[in-house]
């Protein structure tokens, strides 16, 4: 339960600045996701908030109190690591209780809290096992359980799902979303490079690029009104189509963005773009057509699963005009 403010936070390693002045306000009980490509500084930013790295310049405030020089254990945080960071020689129970044993809580209370967290995550039958006897998903639950037991103000997740396989990732994602509902007072910060995780989990998303905040907003805001070509291309799957040159000039912009689901196949007379289907991807519910219209890259068009078209078909396409994203020469919206 903490409000976290970052004021012009900077981090340098020697002469290299990796976090270049970040201002961000994370509300109480909010689920904030940091997302961005590798090397954008999202993990570093999380480590600055956790206190594992020292802030070079700027202020970090927890509930209006400057915590720049407060050691990690005094910040009221819990962290879930990408590699789980479980102690391999300790049983699950000891892994979860280890951090509490010195905070002088009595053993009964420690046990009660461990059991409660274990039940919450359905790992109570695993408490006597060693980490190596668990599956990846179970290990990740133990790591989350260890964090819950600490009863933190702030929950930090550093790419917690990236070591899991695709099916498990979806399950654990759901688990984390449920956890977020159950612990509505706890502020959660979650780092990922996967925009699907960001879209599905976040109350708000902070898109980072090259050590700077690119845009902050709810998933819908980022999806519907991205404030740069970068955000437009990063959020959404499959990616937004970008058209340049004469295609864009026809709409008075430098770069024209249009999502695959906002393009329809129309009859010849109403068509704005014409081209040939060069490839089709049938995902069952969706059918993605790759249409060569003479632009830099083929245009991706989403259709319903049953509405596929044969490769080689000549078709006409029209975008939904209200859903066009027009960007100027500075890559910002016009």
């Amino acid at each position: 339960m903490a409000r976290i403010e970052l004021k012009n936070v900077r981090k340098s390693y020697g002469a290299v600045e990796v976090i270049k002045g970040i201002d961000l306000d994370i509300r109480k009980g909010e689920f904030m996701v940091f997302v961005g490509p590798s090397g954008c500084g999202k993990s570093t930013l999380l480590r600055l908030i956790s206190g594992l790295e020292e802030i070079t310049d700027g202020d970090l405030l927890f509930d209006n109190e400057r915590v720049n020089n407060v050691v990690p254990s005094k910040r009221g945080i819990a962290m879930v690591f990408q590699s789980y960071a479980l102690y391999p020689h300790m049983k699950v129970y000891d892994n979860m209780a280890f951090g509490m044993q010195l905070s002088k809580s009595n053993p009964k209370e420690i046990e009660a809290r461990v059991r409660k967290a274990a039940e919450m995550l359905q790992i109570d039958h695993l408490l006597d096992r060693l980490p190596k006897q668990l599956s990846g998903g179970q290990r990740q639950r133990v790591a989350i359980g260890r964090a819950i037991v600490r009863d933190p103000r702030v929950f930090l997740f550093d790419e917690p799902l990236s070591n899991l396989d695709a099916a498990l990732r979806v399950d654990t994602r759901l688990e984390i979303a449920r956890l977020n509902h159950d612990m509505e007072d706890v502020t959660m910060i979650y780092v990922t490079h996967d925009q699907v995780e960001a879209m599905t989990l976040a109350d708000r998303i902070c898109v980072l690029r090259d050590g700077k905040v690119e845009q902050v907003g709810t998933p819908a805001e980022l999806y519907e009104s991205p404030n740069s070509v970068f955000v437009a291309g990063f959020i959404g799957s499959p990616k937004m189509n970008f058209l340049k040159g004469s295609f864009a000039a026809a709409f008075d912009c430098t770069t024209l963005g249009i999502r695959p689901e906002h393009i329809s196949v129309v009859d010849e007379a109403r068509g704005i773009w014409r081209g040939k289907v060069i490839h089709g991807e049938n995902l069952g519910s969706d059918y993605f057509l790759f249409v060569e219209i003479g632009a830099e890259a083929p245009l991706v068009v989403r259709r319903d699963g049953k509405e596929g078209l044969p490769v080689g078909a000549e078709i006409a396409l029209a975008p939904e005009i209200p859903n066009l994203h027009r960007f100027g020469p500075d890559d910002r919206p016009v």
Binding site: V71, I77, M79, S83, R150
Partner: protein
Amino acid sequence: MAQSFTGRERSLQQQRVRAAYTFLAPMLIMLAVVAAWPLLRSIGFSFTDATADTIFNGESKWVGFENYLERRVRSNGEVRWRGVLVDPDWWNAVWNTVRFSAVSVALEATLGLLVALVLNAEFKGRGLVRAAILIPWAIPTVVSARMWGWMLNDQFGVINHMMMSVGLIDAPIAWTAQADTAMLAVLIVDVWKTTPFMALLMLAGLQMIPRDMYEAAKIDGIHPIRVFFKVTLPLLKPAILVAVIFRALDALRIFDLIYLLTPQSDATVTMSVLSYRELQQFGDYGEGSAMSTLLFLIITGFVLLYIKLGRVDLTGSKS
């Protein structure tokens, strides 16, 4: 159809096994020539009365276990036992070797761990220090034994000089010659020489421990000393066990340092030195070989016991 399929699979497996043996063959032949054959010869000699004169002309005789233990009845009916197993010199050497090994390995492991912990921390010039610390290990034993021999010398040695000038001792000590200090001198030099090796083995182990384990502990606010005993030490245990076994093998068959630093001293003579004396100086190949064989058996027994008790994972199959 199914049968021909499995038949082909097996032959692929056979091909792999054959390829493996082909690659292993040079190594196996080499080991047989330089390790297995000398070892078997030596064990063979221990059952003969071979001496320097008879060893090559084939006049030595098979004497069974006489070199190890022999019961002799004198004309007056008195029973006498002889052989290595009742030789007080041999048991003195065994005791010296065990004592030396236990103390030196314990000291080197402890100091090596401390040095490794320091070298594992991040500081400027760490690479240089890591390289520099290996210098004692890199110096040939002959050189370091002579060097320390001079430093410990009772008349000209710098160590006596320093200890006298600060008033620790009144009269110079003949470190390497006196029976009560000879073992101490050998231990000092061996610890000086071998601690870096231990430190490097343990440093390698320390570097295998994932950093986020420490970060998790840091977020939990666990005291560094508790982290050391509860996290670092248990995770380092396999590396420590392997380092100790390497060192113990070396220590149990120590020869050069003792032979060079404290020659002829009964206080330090080890199994290797004694069997060398028997073989080379007295030319008694039978009894010398018996000693070598016993040394071999003792080391083998120790290693097997150690692996069993420590559950050392030498094959790496557990990790």
